[in-house]
């Protein structure tokens, strides 16, 4: 992506390009480009917002039912309303830490259209009365950081950020902060710790709900890059136009990062709620089919943390509640497609290892449990598995996330879906995320595990040395 121009990314007929309209514009990332291209005129929405009252602006976001795009899908307008009245200062934190395996849409939003994000930040800051915006960008995203820094400089120079924005009384600074390379700081309270200069480890909720006690224990709204990038379009159009896309419960569009065994992987802006996974995989606009000569084995509908789906689920729409009821989640908008060449045990280990490596180590079940899961899976793959290992694995998982764990239905075996979300003995959802691939894979592909397990219960465990 770096240095190249992404081809213009078409959306389906009748679906506006709400956030991706400048992805194909060579200079869409500059102030000039932002003003002169795309599906709305850059910074015109801000001008309009500054003429309304902050509460009117919040009301619009609430009416539009703009759902958070960071993972939990919580309506932004309602979240903004959680700031306790009359507690100041308040802060906005932009979550640009995107690190969930399979997810790469925020990076493109920041690289291709940084002003759109900045304008979104300003609108949000105005609506909630934020004293400052912290824009937290994942450490490894050097290009995104450069683009945002350049855009911020342009915006400051043009009087769009800083003191007396556009000549009004409204003033707010946007501070750019770079992460240091840890998936867990995508979790909002860990991100806040990291912003404050501490180790990025989640805080407990309760009591540390950011809207009440966030940055420096002040009310803080944490929103995802994509969530905020919706605002300029919304405010240069109307709630009705916004809600005309998608469904009532999931209006608007979503950026989907499609990867894996499809012909045309990439990011696509699709209508929420109505688009199905099948369309996503098969439409020429999007995936253009499972790669030739292969067939779908399973797919992850919402990033590495999401329980797996299987061919039976392809006709489900990309709608939060539907997907949740079917046993998974839309999460971060990352859809990973795996065909029949994929070894379920290996895929499972790959995902579990990610969570084990990224566990922050704060709470016992995740710190010890995810590594234990990884070790068992690795041992099975190494040919040292025991028949008892599968029950052990499931029970270790159960001690991280007391079951039943969300999982898709398996009609062939007459097994029902367990709806989202999981429970947890941990502080944050990272530990329980490691359980998703385990329960999904063992329930559906138990035989693949058994094939790898040596039919011997007492195996020597290698490598144990006792220092005397």
């Amino acid at each position: 992506m770096i240095g190249t121009t992404t081809p213009a990314m078409p959306t389906a007929p009748g679906v506006p390009a709400i956030v991706s309209s400048r992805f194909g514009v060579a200079d869409g990332h500059t102030l000039e480009g932002y003003r002169s291209s795309g599906s709305y005129e850059g910074y015109s929405a801000l001008r309009a917002v500054l003429e309304m009252s902050p509460s009117a602006a919040s009301e619009i976001v609430k009416d539009a039912s703009l759902l958070g795009r960071g993972g939990a899908g919580f309506p932004a307008g309602i979240k903004w309303g959680f700031c306790p009245a009359d507690v100041w200062p308040r802060y906005i934190v932009v979550n640009g830490d995107e690190s969930e395996p399979g997810t790469y849409k925020d990076r493109v939003l920041m690289e291709r259209d940084p002003h759109q994000l900045i304008e979104g930040c300003l609108i949000a800051a105005y609506a909630i009365g934020a004293a400052q915006v912290f824009l937290y960008v994942r450490g490894e995203m050097a290009h995104a950081q450069e683009r945002i820094a350049a855009a911020l400089n342009e915006a400051y120079a043009a009087g769009l950020v800083g003191r007396n924005i556009l000549g009004t009384d409204f003033s707010v600074d946007i501070v750019l902060h770079w992460g240091a390379g840890a998936y867990i700081v995508g979790e909002e309270t860990a991100l806040i710790e990291s912003l404050e200069g501490n180790r990025g480890m989640p805080r407990l909720k309760p009591p540390f709900f950011p809207a009440a006690k966030g940055v420096y224990l002040a009310p803080t709204i944490v929103n995802n890059v994509e969530t905020l990038s919706n605002l300029p379009w919304l405010f240069s159009h109307s709630v009705e136009e916004y809600r005309s896309v998608g469904t009532d419960s999931s209006p608007g569009t979503r950026l989907i990062a499609l990867s894996g065994h499809v012909e045309n992987p990439g990011i696509f802006e699709v209508a929420q709620g109505t688009t199905t996974f099948r369309e996503l995989f098969e439409s020429e606009l999007y995936g253009n089919g499972i790669r030739a000569g292969h067939e779908l084995k399973m797919f992850i509908p919402g990033g590495a943390s999401a329980p797996w789906f299987f061919p039976e689920q392809v006709d489900l729409p990309l709608e939060g509640r539907v997907v949740g009821g079917a046993g998974s989640m839309l999460g971060s908008g990352a859809v990973v497609v795996m065909d029949e060449t994929t070894d379920a045990v290996r895929a499972c280990l790959r995902l579990v290892r990610f969570f084990a490596r990224e566990s922050c180590g704060k709470c016992t079940p995740c710190r010890e449990g995810t590594t234990w899961e990884e070790k068992i899976l690795q041992r099975i793959l190494d040919g040292h598995g025991r028949p008892s290992d599968l029950e052990l694995l499931l029970d270790v998982a159960d001690n991280i996330s007391p079951g039943p764990y969300p999982v898709a239905s398996d009609p062939a075996n007459d097994l029902d879906a367990v709806p989202y979300p999981p429970r947890q003995t941990t502080i944050c959802p990272l530990g329980p995320s490691s359980v998703a691939p385990i329960t999904s894979a063992i329930r559906r592909f138990r035989h693949e595990f058994e094939d790898k397990i040596v039919q011997r219960d007492l195996i020597p465990v290698e490598g144990v040395s006792v220092d005397v």
Binding site: E358, C360, G361, K375, Q424, I427
Partner: protein
């Protein structure tokens, strides 16, 4: 873990259901405490009642229903709300807790048989109580190098660590020494120090006490005992006057470990390392075991008690009582202090008695000012004027309380000190004044009248903004003490006078360092004083009736005694655990005094420079070797217990007093135990009313009983001290203390002795630059009295015009610079 929930008063009762029972709890308290108080103990590792919870170990998960259906929640971070329903034992809870336990054990080395914690280990105990008995973890465990030192005293075994964040939280949140941290992440997380920076905290031993496993061990105790061999008894640390409550533990008649006990008004379960590892000095091979007498050939030789006591009595009997003096006694128990006061003032008939060596505050000031307890000083939202010594160096756990007050309880501290102290970072204002000029600074602070040129070397703006913090605060708490031993006590007394006239409602806490100095003054160990806060003028009648005779005129104070001895006006000088040769601020005066006194009789538990110069040495029982009571700086009386027998034939100080009294034809009226002495004091002393030995023994909490805070001694009018101006080519000397000095208690304590800092002279960057000095440059510091050679340290915490030298460091004898007769001490610092 014996860390019971904090004792609280239920002011906002709410009803909650615990395992089906309706119980009363305090609204908002942590659920884990509410359950424990109501007989439903919830297992835990990371929670500590004196630290903010972090909810990390997940051992305390219970099922809670607040109306939205039951869910697993960490009870250590969940505030009690009305109507909450808790299940602490159901299957889901049990499975979650067992799961956590199994996770914690999965990488645990299980080297319990060689682990100091084995036998008192919460992880072991929980496992025994609930554990599965067999491990399902067949993978290779995590390996680390077995214990690595993280400081001079503390070792870390990372294999045993369960990453509960207790030690790290203590270091950063309680002690303010954030020197240990987590590094790496996931299952590779470990506790570490910064490279080349040890965990050098005065409070490091607390981390060992609160570590829920054997990951942290302390050198003085490692491999010394097994918990089931330990015997223990509760007592009070007397290493300084804070009076932290401790459990003293022994094994085979040897003191092996002290653990902090949670006394709510005092130490909150914390101890400093000096106090915690003090048993090393008690166990020292050098302990004085037998009496000694100087023989014809000039050598000290072991003697029989009867010989030594006979010689002491003979020396006293043969001279006029006005030529006998008793110096020291702040280390003694209340009972021994009372016995010695009675012996000196009634049997011998001398009033030359002083528990302080001219380095404290006059008794009338300590007993005559309206008092403030530690809790008063630290009360939420209050304002404190701090005029004492660096509390981190002298009264460490008082520092912890003050730090907590400032950081967590919005207490505003206005500190006036001769250089920046451990407290300065937490003070709302910290002003560094020129030595000798504290009274003017305090007057300006209290009145808000600040000359444009500033006061006492502090610029006008700084003084004005600090004065604004004190403006209108009538119930000010004032901490007073001796921040500079090179400055006469009169300067501090003048500063106190300035506060008294400006803020009549102020209350005072005297921050004097020596363990039981307060008790000594309450027992009358000061010239002109009688027990129970009376003077010769006000107490003669009472005490004549009790004792038969009392002095008729005030005798000499500590400095007066040293002067008199130096001038040959004393025939017998009795040192009660005092070591003027290393401890007096004016070292040459002390030397002349010991040389000039006729017979020097020394009662001590350890050899010191002064015992070595004495004619008769009587070995005494140390802390943990005798029963009695002690009084802390607030006036809090707590019970001390004997745990082990004294070495050799060492005796308790009061027994020696009683024996000497008999030999001098008197009688202290004590037959068999120190309780008789205490009850005699209580009987005749109004302030001690209600503090009988029976009342103290009946106390259920470890907090003891507080003597009345209100003054009962009339403060004498003082004449202001005249401080001469400093000449331009000299600096004014500050002598202050450090926690680890070369006193005999530290010198005989192996782990602390290694921490005694090197001597130096600290200079402000401006003065150092003017003299062309850098840190490390050797200089000569010379007063009109003497000179020393030391390396300079450039320290931005030192104000211009001051030169700071630590008191009592073996490498440099700063005491030779000071002349006790001068109000301040000016020095010249020159390149050597």
């Amino acid at each position: 873990m014996s860390e019971p929930p904090r004792r609280i008063e239920i002011t906002e009762p709410v009803t909650i259901t615990v395992d089906g029972r309706e119980v009363t709890a305090q609204n908002g308290e942590w659920l884990i405490d509410a359950c424990e108080r109501n007989d439903a103990y919830i297992p835990r590792f990371c929670y500590h009642p004196r630290m903010e919870p972090v909810g990390m170990c997940r051992m305390c998960l219970v099922e809670v229903d607040t109306g939205r259906g039951p869910a697993l929640q960490p009870s250590c971070m969940l505030p009690v709300t009305p109507g909450m329903s808790v299940d602490t034992t159901n299957d889901k809870v049990a499975k979650a807790q067992d799961g956590v336990l199994e996770f914690l054990l999965s990488n645990h080395p299980l080297d319990c048989p060689v682990c100091d914690k084995g036998g008192e280990c919460p992880l072991q105990d929980q496992t025994m109580a609930y554990g599965p008995g067999e491990s399902r973890f067949v993978e290779e465990k995590r390996h680390y190098e077995k214990p690595i030192p993280i400081s001079e005293t503390v070792f870390l075994d990372r294999e045993r660590c369960i990453l509960c964040d207790r030690c790290t939280r203590f270091a950063s949140d309680v002690a303010g020494d954030p020197l240990i941290h987590f590094i790496d992440r996931g299952s590779q997380t470990e506790i570490a120090t910064f490279p080349d920076e040890p965990f050098a905290s005065y409070f490091s031993g607390n981390t060992v006490q609160i570590c829920p496993v054997g990951a942290l061990t302390a050198k003085p105790y490692r491999f010394r005992a097994r918990p089931w061999d330990l015997e223990e008894v509760e007592s009070t640390c007397t290493s300084c006057s804070v009076g932290c409550r401790v459990t003293i533990q022994s094994s085979r008649n040897q003191l092996v470990r002290y653990q902090g006990v949670d006394s709510d008004p005092v130490n909150w379960s914390w101890l400093c390392d000096k106090g915690r590892f003090g048993h090393e000095a008690s166990n020292s091979e050098d302990r004085l075991r037998e009496p000694m007498r100087r023989s014809e050939d000039g050598a000290l030789r072991v003697a029989q008690w009867s010989d030594a006591l006979g010689a002491a009595a003979a020396a006293i009997r043969s001279v006029d009582p006005s030529r006998v003096a008793v110096l020291g006694g702040a280390r003694l128990t209340n009972e021994s202090q009372y016995a010695w006061t009675k012996l000196a003032k009634s049997v011998i008939g001398t009033d030359h008695v002083d528990a302080q060596l001219g380095d404290g505050l006059p008794a009338e000031v300590v007993l005559g000012l309206p008092g403030a307890s530690i809790d008063d000083v630290c009360a939420k939202g209050g304002t404190v004027l701090y005029l004492g010594p660096d509390p981190k160096e002298e009264l460490p756990v008082l520092y912890l309380r003050l730090r907590h007050a400032a950081v967590s309880d919005s207490v505003r501290i206005v500190e006036c000190s001769p250089m920046r102290s451990g407290l300065s970072p937490y003070a709302a204002a910290s002003l560094q004044y020129a030595p000798g000029e504290l009274p003017a600074l305090v007057a300006a602070l209290c009145s808000g009248d600040v000359p444009d040129g500033g006061v006492a070397g502090v610029d006008a703006d700084t003084v004005r903004s600090a004065a604004a913090l004190l403006d209108g605060i009538d119930d000010l708490s004032v901490v007073v003490g001796r921040a500079n031993l090179a400055e006469t006590a009169g300067v501090v007394v003048d500063a106190i006078d300035a506060v008294r006239s400006a803020r009549p409602g102020a209350r005072y806490l005297s921050a004097l360092r020596r363990g039981n100095v307060r008790g000594a003054l309450e027992a009358g160990m000061s010239p002109g004083l009688l027990p129970g806060r009376t003077t010769i003028a006000t107490g003669s009648a009472t005490w004549t009736e009790a004792w038969g005779a009392v002095p008729t005129a005030a005798g000499l104070d500590g400095l007066g005694i040293l002067d008199a001895a130096a001038e040959g006006r004393l025939d017998v000088l009795i040192l009660l655990g005092a070591d003027p040769l290393t401890d007096a601020a004016d070292r040459s005066l002390a030397r002349r005094a010991i040389a000039g006194a006729g017979t020097v009789i020394s009662l001590d538990s350890l050899p010191s420079a002064s015992t070595l110069q004495s004619d008769i040495v009587l070995p005494v029982a140390a802390f943990g070797e005798c029963d009695g009571t002690t009084t802390n700086l607030e006036g809090r009386v707590t019970v001390l217990h004997q745990k082990v027998t004294p070495p050799g034939t060492a005796r308790t100080d009061w027994m020696i007093a009683a024996e000497l009294a008999l030999r001098l034809g008197g009688d202290l009226g004590v037959e068999s135990s120190q309780v008789e002495l205490w009850d005699e004091l209580v009987k005749h002393s109004a302030p001690h009313d209600g503090l009988s030995s029976a009342a103290l023994a009946a106390q259920e909490d470890p907090d003891g009983l507080l003597l009345p805070l209100d003054a009962t001694i009339e403060l004498a009018a003082t004449t202001p001290t005249n401080v001469p101006p400093r000449s331009a080519d000299s600096l004014r000397l500050v002598v202050n203390r450090t926690l680890y000095d070369s006193g005999s208690a530290i010198s005989h304590c192996a782990s602390s002795a290694a921490l005694v800092p090197e001597a130096s002279v600290r200079l402000s960057p401006a003065d150092a630059a003017a003299m062309g000095l850098e840190t490390g440059t050797f200089v000569t510091v010379a007063s009109s009295h003497g000179s020393v050679s030391v390396p300079a340290v450039v320290d931005p915490g030192v104000p211009g015009g001051a030169a700071v030298v630590r008191h009592n460091l073996e490498s440099v004898d700063a005491g030779v610079l000071v002349d006790a007769a001068d109000p301040v001490c000016d020095v010249r610092v020159e390149l050597r």
